[in-house]
Every structure is written in structure tokens, then in C-alpha cells.
Amino acid sequence: MVKQLNKKALIKPLALLVTFFIVQLLIQFNIINYYYQDILATICINIILAVSLNLITGFTGQFSLGHAGFMSIGAYACALTIQRVPTVYGFIAGVILGAMLAAFAGLLVGLPTLRLKGDYLAIATLGLSEIIRVMFINLDSITNGAAGLYLQYRFVNWFWLFVLTVMTVVLISNFVKSSHGRACISIREDEIAAEAVGINTTKYKVMAFMIGSFFAGVAGAVYASYFYFIEPNLFGFSKSIDILVVVVLGGLGSLSGSILAAAVLALISSFLQSFAAIRMVLYAVLLILIMLFRPGGLMGSRELSVAMLVELRKEAIAWLKAMPAKVLSAVRSITKGTGKHGGDKSASKGRFEG
């Protein structure tokens, strides 16, 4: 029993390590070239953003449209730190500082606004992220205003991307499974009942908001250091919407859904680069299609698990086994059903056999 438990507990870290080294090797041999590395970085940053917003919107049920604002705080804090201390330690300090400042901003914003509900909260958080953006534009002397900040060095490599992304996902997933996380979920389910069973709803709303902002800050710091350049307008309203799209598409309340959606969307959008003119139209159509066929998001509120994969495999095999018969009967009905009465009959017979 104990051995089995240990084995199970080892699978995940082992899988992660293997993934890390495979990608590292692929980068070393330049199979993953600079272009694909950029996509990889985008995916990792989007995962951090989506998972942290999912904690606020998916698990705690607080509709926030200000995630890009918190991201920008992390980005600027990290960029300014790196400018002063251009070493990897400067980068680490920048990530920590950026995350802390973003969390603090989350606290300041959360305390007054989290008494609002639904649409009203969305509007308030939207407004606050705009305030942050305008503030960065106007703090010329520090942030170089609308012209933005350039960095000379890049400290983020695959190692840092991997470590920070995995850290974010593990910490937030651990939080969600704990009693504190359940308290957050109960707020989403029924705020009045949550209060009645002894949960300090204000406290847990603000806590979720702060944790979410903290990791948005981490994502911002990684972004700044990876892409060399930041300007306030990168973190506008549309960025917040982008993150929300990932969360909704993956499934509100599903962390693995957020991860999946972040990867899928980054891949789709990079694939569409070759159709530059109609790229956004295709992107929108794809989004609509996904939402039509999976209204609860890719994963609903479920998490990806080994049991689920096994189930999926079974279904796929059953589907594939049924395939030849289906195809055969379809082909028969097409080939034989060309006008003559007798042909029609045998076609329908064939279908029954299939």
C-alpha cells in the first residue's frame, strides 16, 4: 500500500522532469528554434496568467477584468529592477518584487471593490486596470511613459519559464484543494450560505484576489524579461480580455483546462500568422465554434486525470472499432443507392448489419 502510494506520488514529478529535459534537448539541438521558443514562452506566460485568473474568476466566482493591470505592475517592477541590477539575481529580485507589489495592489483594489458583484465588479476592476495603465503612461520619469522600456539582457530561459509555470500551477492547485480553497469555492456556489457556515467571505475573496494578482505579477515579470520591451498599452483592456478568453475556453474552475486552452490558443494564433489579413476573423470563428460545441469550456469544471485519460482511450478505441462498419455502410449506401429500387433496399439492410 505504502509502496503504491509512493509510486503514484512519483509519477508527476518524473513526468515533469522528463518534459523539462526533452524540451531542453530540443532547444539545444535547435529543433525548437527561436520562433518556437517565443511561442513556448507565450504559452508559459499565458498559463500563469490563466491559472491565476481562474482562481479569482473560476473558483471564487469574482468576475475580474483587470488582470492585465496586475501583470503590468509585475512587468514594470521587474524591468526597472533589471535595469538597475542587470544580473540573474536582479531578475529574481524583480520577479519577487513585482509579484509582491502586484499582490499589494490586489489588496488595495480588492478591499473596496469586492463588495460589488458580477458585472459591477467587472466594470470596477476594468476601471482600476485602466488607472494603472494611465499611471504608467504619466510616470514619465520612472517608466519612460508611452514610449516604454527596453531591456538589454534576457534572463528568462526555458529553465525559468518551466520552473515558474510549474510553481504557479502547483501552488494554486494545492491552494484550491485545501480548506481555504474550498472556502473560496463555497463563495462562488452561494455566498450567503458560505457566511452562514462560518466562512469570512470578504477575507477569502480578498485572499483569492491577492494570490491571483501575485501570480499575474510573476507573469508580467517573466514577460518583461523575455520579450525585452514593455509599454503601458501592452497591458490594456484587450489583454485582460485575452486572459479571460483562455480561462473561459478552458473551463471556469478547471486548472488543467486553463493550461490546455493557453497552449491551444497560442498554437492556433501562431498557425494563423500565415493568414495575416484574416487572422483575427479566423481566431474569432474558432472561438465561437469551440464555445458552441463545448459551452462549459474544454474541460468544464473537471480536472484532467489518469482515470479520465483511460476513459478517453476506451471511448476512442470503441469509436475507432465502430468506424469501419460505419464507413462501410456509408459507402454501401452511396454506391448502391444510385437510383434503383433494389439497391436502396440492400443499402438499408447493410446499414442494419453495420
Binding site: 484543494k177 485545501s178 480548506s179 472556502a183 450560505a193 457566511e195 469570512n200 467571505t201
Partner: protein, 261 residues
């Protein structure tokens, strides 16, 4: 020995006096009924006691031995942690969560680990989570719900949802349990079962219970004392037998003519 005392409790919504100058005492270990016609202010009294509303005037005191603590105007979660739990007239379960989760959430105030343990899943987290699960299952066993702990609450039959709500209320280890129409919409057989369960948990948890109910057979059978509300005021209080023959109560329920007839 007093457990809860309300003095001149008043709540007005604009010009409407929902509850006016209600005095009420609930003693340790009692099972007290609160009845009255529709709109008499019964649920408002519950909402005042549990902190959903702050009273316009008046006081509510919760006693711990001889030491009394005023609780009116506190936030609901503080009142819950002080030892008063409730159920709702229109069931308010966490419908999309499992039966087990519904109970586990209500155990939140007994959790001993902090944020660090919950982020890193330290040994203290594992121990405490195991305790929460064990205690939740114990609690669900009383209601015969332990076999259904992985089902979503919304998939339970109505009567079991009522039971689960009581189980959830008990999970926060209250001294005083407020039941808001536990038998509403429940068939006679289930009502009988319900009164059995109320008796059982009262004995097991050493509970004091205040109960709103329209099902008079249930109220008269299990309550030791009854308060009758009408238009926000207490019009009578006493044992079930006293209430049954009280003229003001009959008038309130059936109208003036009922007595002459």
C-alpha cells in the same frame, strides 16, 4: 440556564415593522418552536439572530455559562463561529459540490493549518485534512448519507437535501441550531423521520434547538416551549398545550370568527 436572550429586538424595513420589541429566552438544552402566520416575522428573527440583518434596536446575547456576549450586529460568520448555526427555508446547499464537500466546507473554522501548509501540503495539512474527512463521514453516517458522499448535492432527493443541510449546519459544532421550516415540502413519512433525526442529533450533540415550522403536528410533538409571532410581535408563549388553547393564537391563525363559531 439561559443560552440565548433577545431583548426588545426590533427590525424595521423603511416604514414596515418586520419585528417589533421581541423578547425571547432560550435555555440550554431546550427545543423551542417559533410559529406564526405567514409574514409574521419568523424568518426575520432568524436573520437577526444569525447576523444576516443588523437589528434596528434591541440586543441579542449569547451565554457561555454565566458569561454573556452580545452578538447582534456581528457578521454572520462570526456568529456561526460563536456557536449558532442555521438551515434555510429554501434550501441553500452548495448544489454543484459533492455531499462530502458541503460538510467539509462547514468544518473550515476548525482547520488548524495556515496558508503555508495549504500551499505546500505539509504533513500538518495531510493530518488535518484526514481528520476533516473522518469527522465529516461520521456526521454523514448519522443522516445515512455516508453512502452518497461523492454525489453532487443537487442530485439528492429533496428530503435528503434537507438532511444534508442539517448535517452541514452541525459540522460547525454549534451550541444552538436554528431550523427554518425543516419539514417544508416533505411528505408525512419523511416528516416522521425528520422528528426522529432532530431528537437524535439533539441528544448526540447536546444541542439547543430553535425551530420555525408550519407543520403543527411536528411542532406540538417535539417542541417543549413555543413562541407565537404575529405582525412582528410575540403574542403568546408557553407549552404546546397552553398555546393550543390560547385565544389570541387561534384568532391570529383563523380570524376573529373562529372563536365564536
Amino acid at each position: 440556564m439561559k443560552l440565548l436572550e433577545a431583548k426588545k429586538l426590533t427590525k424595521s424595513f423603511g416604514g414596515l415593522m418586520a419585528v417589533s420589541k421581541v423578547n425571547m429566552v432560550i435555555n440550554q438544552g431546550e427545543l423551542v418552536g417559533l410559529i406564526g402566520p405567514n409574514g409574521a416575522g419568523k424568518t426575520t428573527v432568524f436573520n437577526l439572530i444569525t447576523g444576516m440583518y443588523a437589528p434596528t434596536s434591541g440586543t441579542i446575547t449569547l451565554f457561555d455559562g454565566s458569561h454573556g456576549k452580545t452578538i447582534h450586529g456581528l457578521k454572520p460568520h462570526k456568529i456561526c463561529n460563536a456557536g449558532i448555526a442555521r438551515t434555510f427555508q429554501n434550501i441553500r446547499l452548495f448544489k454543484d459540490l459533492t455531499v462530502l464537500d458541503n460538510v467539509r466546507i462547514a468544518m473550515h473554522c476548525s482547520v488548524k493549518y495556515g496558508l503555508l501548509s495549504c500551499f505546500l501540503h505539509l504533513p500538518r495539512y495531510r493530518r488535518d485534512e484526514q481528520r476533516i474527512i473522518d469527522e465529516s463521514i461520521e456526521l454523514l453516517k448519522i443522516f445515512n448519507l455516508d453512502g452518497k458522499m461523492d454525489e453532487l448535492a443537487r442530485n439528492l432527493p429533496y428530503g435528503e437535501q434537507r438532511h444534508l443541510e442539517i448535517a452541514r449546519a452541525l459540522a460547525s459544532r454549534p451550541k444552538l441550531l436554528l431550523l427554518d421550516e425543516p419539514a417544508a415540502g416533505v411528505n408525512p413519512a419523511e416528516t416522521a423521520q425528520l422528528s426522529e433525526i432532530i431528537r437524535k442529533v439533539r441528544r448526540l450533540f447536546n444541542l439547543t434547538i430553535l425551530l420555525i415550522e408550519h407543520d403543527m403536528s411536528l411542532v406540538m410533538k417535539i417542541c417543549e416551549r413555543i413562541y407565537v409571532l404575529d405582525f412582528g410581535s410575540v403574542i403568546a408563549s408557553g407549552t404546546p398545550d397552553e398555546i393550543k388553547s390560547n385565544e389570541r393564537v387561534i384568532t391570529a391563525y383563523l380570524g376573529e370568527d373562529a372563536i365564536d363559531a
